[in-house]
Symmetry: C2
Subunit: 433 residues, 2 copies
């Protein structure tokens, strides 16, 4: 691959550095840099100490980078110092933008009503601090209350707030500014293609790449990243127009070798595919979950507009709830145990009937850390997706990892069952569950 | 705070930099540094490119650090270059440790049996590479197959493998080495205290710190971090024994000014406090959620052992589910709308009755991005917690942020209602909802 403009990300926040808060911005910005055709060199996390922020910025300024993006440190309190440090580094004095100050104040007014005892002086001081802009910088209008900045220079610094929702909206504005466009002028036109596979070990894709290489496909012209994410294998390839043929040849090899597991070739996630399949069919869905405790329903309703197809769900954590709420025959629990394919199917059909849905999903398993047995160890999960016409798909898996991994992976397994069911797979149950 | 030895962490791995794999090592090492009384300056993430690793190490070597810890890049393949780069930086030639080579080979033997087609030359080359040790370094015995290193110098570099299980075990060995003990000789004994508040804006705590300073409390002796997390304010303070009095005085000021909002002074989260309150009372809980779509039930069941007190929940996303599953009177929906305090209370009592629980929680709101009106904008959420004796606490909030923020924050508001209800607050409903 030819040389690209390079960029770095600085994430500020003692709570991120200490691991108390997980950083969502570094990964999100990494994806945006990939799309822009900019090379992402490094992500640096520093605490809320201006000298550490300054040291990181100074180092990056010496590293031949086109762009540095900072996240966080734009709040109203005195330890939020990003704008000040960037201004100093670029040698630009801070100037009060009075119109911006008024706009921030207007945004905060509803808070004043909610907290009548608020200290007004502290409040005004905070607002003024947030309206100080380095000379020559472009202001990014605040989505929350903190404005962002694009400060031109070498490197150009894009200053964004920490809350992910604000950062994401304001990044989109930053990309439109002439200052940022100029900074990344050397970026190429890149295509990013994502293939997703489900139901195979990661080593298989490594072997496929070796096969492709032996067939003479020029993998050196492609930047290929493969990774295992939430139980799926993702192959992300970035390439310039000259490498189009190499990519087409690679994708063909992958399609051939992984026909049964490749489920997405246009970047769609399994969540999107399930949502689309439900919408296309005008079908509704309901869940009955035990070990996942509502995570599948929460995942299905993450998407705006999901009320079009999600009717709801039952979290049947206690056995009594499985019986009384989801309608599971207590005999099944006694005979096969609460974690069994029989109970998973009964939960799926129970959800379907109770909500009068087209598709029902049942999940029951051992999330751990306790409760595992030799026959049903931690990670042992039974899942079933059932259709109104009586078809159902049922799977038993033993998932790796801790409690959180098992619960999260289970929702992925469930979504793949739903997708297959919606595509017509599944046997009719001989006996109504 | 007096000066402490400072440390930095370098995490290597393109999949971590790109955000496709979440880094567990940076946060884990941050906690270990805190315990050691070492100041954690920064965490740097770089991809699998030796020049980026080298640039990061060179920068850190110029930063007056006592310690640098690297994670990853110790595998047998040619792009795993951490040991080589560290040796070069410290000016120590790499020497083959033949005994170590044999021990690594012995660990790998079971693999040979499983993969009879393995390329033996490549395999021997990899083993030899992993047994190359910078002169004067202490070898950390491999837990997996990759050995770690403690390389003395300024800074002393601790080289650890990427897999978290291996890294954690080998860090414990590293701490015992004279080389590491010498590097952090100036580390002190520190206390870390965490206060959590709920129901006030972040600017209030900034003002409280100013008040404390005006009262002559030596805040310079304390390292104070404040942050807003999931709708709560967290104040984390680290201090050495000499600063005990200053901390006690600060905590007193905070207690006085924020008596109504301070809910945790021992590091407990609201999740832990609710779980403990339920367990202490032998009480059970059930939920009926609309806009949060199961997130509250999922949050309640995140904790191992939650089956002791969580019976389950209903995700009543569609109005029909509110009526048929949660027992909400359809009249209430017609008269007040699905998002109303009346429906929130009916959901809470419905959950309580359907699951025969001691506590029921109801949530209904506008998560957005669509569906907002002037009277009930996006972020408008009604929540209620109800007790078996008829008491209930009901709140209406307008939460900031996007769909995900509104949903997540709602679960925090709900947990605080439950905590207050379990502590005896709440009026008896005049009319059974």
């Amino acid at each position: 691959m030819r040389e690209l403009p390079r960029a770095a990300v600085i994430v500020t926040g003692t709570e991120v550095l200490s691991g108390r808060v997980r950083d969502a911005n570094g990964p999100w910005l990494a994806d945006r840099l990939l799309e822009l055709g900019v090379d992402h060199a490094t992500t640096i996390v520093v605490g809320d100490r201006p000298q550490d922020m300054r040291a990181a910025l100074e180092w990056l300024a010496s590293q031949d980078l086109a762009l540095v993006i900072t996240s966080g440190g734009l709040g109203p309190t005195a330890d939020d110092l990003t704008a000040e440090v960037v201004a100093e580094l670029q040698g630009r004095p801070l100037v009060l933008d009075e119109a911006l100050e008024s706009r921030i104040a207007a945004k905060l007014e509803p808070l004043l009503a909610r907290f009548p005892d608020l200290d007004l002086d502290a409040w005004r001081e905070g607002t003024r601090k947030q309206a100080l802009v380095p000379e020559g910088a472009t202001v990014l209008e605040p989505v929350g209350t903190a404005p962002g900045l694009v400060v031109p220079g070498e490197p150009t610094v894009v200053v964004l707030p920490g809350p992910p929702g604000e950062l994401q909206a304001m990044w989109r504005a930053a990309v439109q500014t002439p200052a940022l466009q100029e900074a990344i002028a050397g970026a190429g036109t890149f295509t990013v293609r994502t293939l997703r596979m489900y139901g195979m070990p990661e080593s298989e894709i490594a072997e496929t790449l070796r096969v492709a290489e032996r067939q003479g496909i020029d993998l050196g012209a492609l930047e290929i990243t493969t990774c295992l994410r939430r139980g799926e294998i993702e192959v992300v390839t970035r390439f310039s127009p000259e490498a189009d043929d190499a990519y087409v040849a690679l994708e063909e090899v992958i399609r051939e070798r992984h026909a049964g597991t490749l489920f997405s070739d246009d970047g769609s996630t399994i969540d999107e595919l399930v949502a689309r399949a439900l919408l296309d069919r005008g079908a509704t869905i309901a869940t009955a979950e035990s070990c996942t405790g509502g995570l599948l329903a929460a995942r299905l309703t993450e998407r705006a507009g999901s009320s079009e197809y999600v009717l709801g769900g039952i979290v049947a954590y206690a056995n009594s709830a499985k019986v009384h709420l989801a309608g599971v025959d207590p005999e099944l629990i006694t005979r096969h145990g609460a974690v069994s394919v029989e109970v998973a199917e009964a939960l799926a059909f129970g959800a379907l009937r109770r909500f009068d849905a087209d598709v029902g999903v049942g999940i029951t398993g051992v999330a751990g850390p306790g409760g595992g047995t030799e026959a049903k160890p931690v990670g042992f999960v039974c899942l079933s997706a059932a259709a109104r016409d009586g078809r159902r798909l049922t799977r038993t898996v033993t998932l790796p990892g801790g409690r959180q991994d098992v619960r999260d992976r289970s929702t992925t397994v469930a979504l793949h069952l739903v997708r297959r069911l919606l595509h017509g797979e599944g046997e009719r149950a001989l006996v109504a569950a």
